[in-house]
C-alpha cells in the first residue's frame, strides 16, 4: 500500500529552492535581453540594434498602466478570447467524442477537418471578414480556429484511449449508451481533454494579434499591431509580454480546474 513518493534530488527538495531556480532563470533572461540591447549586439544572422531595451519597455509599461485605454484593451481581448474559446471547447469536445466513438463520424468528419487544420489564422482573415457581419464576430472566429484543433485532437485521443474492458464491464452491469458516455467515456477521456483545453487556451491567445488586425480600436493584439505601424517598438514588446502572461495565466487556470475535476489521478499517485 505505502509506496514511496518520488523523491526529488536534494537541492530541489524544498519549495523555496525550486522557486529560486525559476526566478533566477527569468532574471537571467532579462539580464541577457538587457545586455543584448544596450550593447547593440550584432550576431550576423540576428541583430539587437533596434530592439527596445528592458528599461524602455518598463517605461512603456508604466505609460500603459496610466493610460485610460488599458482596461478597454484588456476587456476587449479577454472577451474575444473567452467567446472563441468557449465555442471551441464545446464544439471540440462534442465532435471529438463523436469521432472517437463512431466509425461513421470519423470517416465523415475527419478528412475535411484535417484539411482545415493546417490553415493558419492569418489566412482566415479575408474569409472571416466576408463571412461574419460584425468585425467582432470575425475576431471571435479567428480565436476559435486557434483553440478548436488542440481541443478536438485531445478529445479524440482521450476517447480512443478509454480501456474497452471498462466499457464491456459497465455494459455487463446494465449500463446503456448514455450512461457509458457519462460514466465511462467522459471521465476516461478527461485527462486528455484537459490537456487539449489547456493547449487550446494558449493557442487561442496565439491568434489574438491576427484576430485583432481586424479591430478598429481596442484589444491587446490591436495595441501591439498598431504600435508597430506607428513605430513605437517598446509598446510592441509590452503587448507581446501581456499576451504571453495572459496566455500562460489562463492556461494555468485551465490546468488547475482540470486537476480539480480529476481528483482520482492525484489519489493514484500519492498512496
Amino acid at each position: 500500500m505505502a509506496t514511496l513518493a518520488y523523491s526529488a534530488p536534494s537541492l530541489l527538495r524544498s519549495r523555496g529552492a525550486r522557486a529560486g531556480v525559476q526566478w533566477a532563470s527569468l532574471a537571467l533572461c532579462i539580464a541577457l535581453w538587457h545586455l543584448a540591447t544596450t550593447h547593440r549586439w550584432n550576431l550576423g544572422i540576428v541583430t539587437f540594434e533596434n530592439v527596445p531595451t528592458p528599461a524602455d519597455t518598463l517605461a512603456a509599461i508604466i505609460d500603459l498602466a496610466h493610460s485610460p485605454k488599458l482596461v478597454a484593451h484588456l476587456t476587449s481581448s479577454v472577451r474575444r478570447i473567452a467567446a472563441g474559446y468557449v465555442a471551441a471547447a464545446a464544439s471540440g469536445v462534442v465532435l471529438g467524442i463523436a469521432i472517437g466513438r463512431s466509425q461513421w463520424s470519423r470517416l465523415a468528419l475527419l478528412t475535411p477537418l484535417e484539411v482545415l487544420r493546417p490553415i493558419p489564422a492569418v489566412a482566415w482573415i479575408p474569409l472571416a471578414i466576408l463571412m461574419f457581419p460584425s468585425s467582432e464576430m470575425s475576431m471571435i472566429f479567428i480565436t476559435f480556429t486557434g483553440a478548436f484543433f488542440p481541443i478536438l485532437l485531445g478529445t479524440i485521443h482521450g476517447v480512443e484511449g478509454v480501456e474497452p474492458r471498462l466499457v464491456s464491464s459497465a455494459r455487463s452491469l446494465g449500463a446503456g449508451n448514455r450512461v457509458i458516455l457519462r460514466e465511462v467515456i467522459l471521465p476516461g477521456a478527461a485527462p486528455a481533454i484537459v490537456t487539449g483545453l489547456a493547449i487550446g487556451m494558449g493557442t487561442s491567445w496565439f491568434c489574438l494579434v491576427t484576430a485583432e488586425m481586424i479591430s478598429g480600436q481596442y484589444g491587446i493584439g490591436y495595441y501591439t499591431w498598431q504600435s508597430y505601424t506607428v513605430q513605437r517598438y517598446p509598446d510592441v514588446v509590452v503587448g507581446m509580454l501581456l499576451i504571453g502572461l495572459l496566455g500562460m495565466g489562463s492556461s494555468a487556470l485551465v490546468r488547475i480546474a482540470g486537476t480539480r475535476l480529476t481528483p482520482w489521478l492525484a489519489a493514484g499517485r500519492i498512496r
Partner: protein
C-alpha cells in the same frame, strides 16, 4: 422459475476480421445447470476467455448458439455478471460507488444502494476502504471489489475470467474460500475460467477441459468432493487422481480425447507441463 441454465450448441467464435480472422472457439457443446459451479480449464491461448466473452455477450458467435434459460444470448446483460482478471473498476469512482454501480443502473436510490454496498464491502473485508479510489487499493483488494460489484448485482450467472490469476498464492487461496462462501449463499451459476488445475478442482462441481486453439471441449470431469471444501483436500488421493487426469489431458493437447484417456503418463513431470 428456472434460473441460470446455460446451453451451448455447436458454438463457434471467430476473432478479428479479413485476413487476420481466426477461429478461437470451435464446436462447443455443453449444458450448465442452474446453481452449478463449472470451471473451464485449458492451456493459455486455447480460447477459454473468448468462450466466456461469448457467454457475456461481449463477442458474437459465428456458429451455433448460446442460450440462458432458453433465451438466446445476444449482448451483455446484468443477469450475466462478469469478473475480469485485471479489475475493471472505474478509476474515477470510489470503491463504494464502484461496487454500487450495478444497483445504480437498476435505479436503486443512493441511500439504499450505499447501504447494501457497504454491507457487502464489510463482508469481503473492504469496509475501511469504501472511500478509496481503486488505484489506492492493493491488487487483492481491487479484485475483491471487482467480485463484490458483480455479486451485489445479483446476477443469475457469474462469469469469471481467471479472476485470481494475477494474485499471489496466499491471497488466491483466501479469495477462493471467500468466493465459495459467497457462492454457497446465493448460488448463482458460475462459469470460472482458469489454467490452474488445483484451482479448478478445488472450486468446481464440474470441469470442462479445453483443447489447444481452436478451443473445444476435450472432456468433462465431475468433481465429486463434498462441500464445504477445506484446503487439505488438494492432498487427498481422489484429488490427486483427478489432477493427474487433467495433466494428462493438458499435456497432449493435440491428441484425441480417447488417446489421452488411455495413455495417462505413469510419471508426471510438472515442469514440462504446458501449465508451468
Amino acid at each position: 422459475m428456472s434460473a441460470g441454465r446455460i446451453q451451448l450448441e455447436a458454438l463457434g467464435i471467430a476473432l478479428g476480421d479479413g485476413a487476420s480472422a481466426f477461429t478461437a472457439v470451435r464446436d462447443v457443446n455443453a449444458v450448465i445447470e442452474p446453481g452449478e459451479f463449472v470451471c473451464i480449464l485449458g492451456p493459455s491461448g486455447c480460447g477459454k476467455s473468448t468462450l466466456l466473452a461469448g457467454l457475456a455477450g461481449h463477442v458474437a458467435p459465428n456458429a451455433g448458439r448460446a442460450t440462458l434459460d432458453g433465451k438466446l444470448i445476444e449482448g451483455p446483460h446484468p443477469e450475466r455478471g462478469m469478473v475480469f482478471q485485471q479489475h475493471t473498476l472505474l478509476p474515477w469512482r470510489k470503491t463504494l460507488d464502484n461496487v454500487a454501480f450495478g444497483l445504480k443502473m437498476r435505479g436503486v436510490k443512493k441511500r439504499e444502494r450505499h447501504l447494501r454496498a457497504r454491507a457487502l464491502l464489510d463482508r469481503v473485508g473492504l469496509g475501511a476502504f469504501a472511500e478509496r479510489y481503486p488505484a489506492q487499493l492493493s491488487g487483492g483488494m481491487q479484485q475483491r471489489a471487482e467480485i463484490a460489484r458483480a455479486i451485489l448485482n445479483e446476477p443469475r450467472v457469474l462469469l469469471m475470467d481467471e479472476p485470481f490469476g494475477a494474485l499471489d498464492a496466499q491471497t488466491r487461496a483466501s479469495m477462493q474460500a471467500l468466493l465459495l462462501d459467497v457462492w454457497s449463499e446465493r448460488r448463482p451459476t458460475v462459469v470460472f475460467v482458469t489454467h490452474d488445475i488445483d484451482e479448478a478442482l478445488f472450486l468446481a462441481d464440474r470441469v470442462l477441459v479445453m483443447s489447444h486453439s481452436p478451443g473445444t471441449v476435450l472432456e468433462e470431469l465431475r468433481v465429486p468432493f463434498a462441500r464445504p471444501r477445506e484446503r487439505e483436500l488438494v492432498t487427498e488421493a481422489g484429488f490427486v487422481a483427478l489432477k493427474r487426469r487433467c495433466l494428462a489431458l493438458l499435456r497432449y493437447p493435440l491428441a484425441s480425447p480417447m488417446a489421452a484417456s488411455n495413455d495417462a503418463p505413469a510419471r508426471i513431470d510438472i515442469s514440462h507441463s504446458v501449465l508451468s
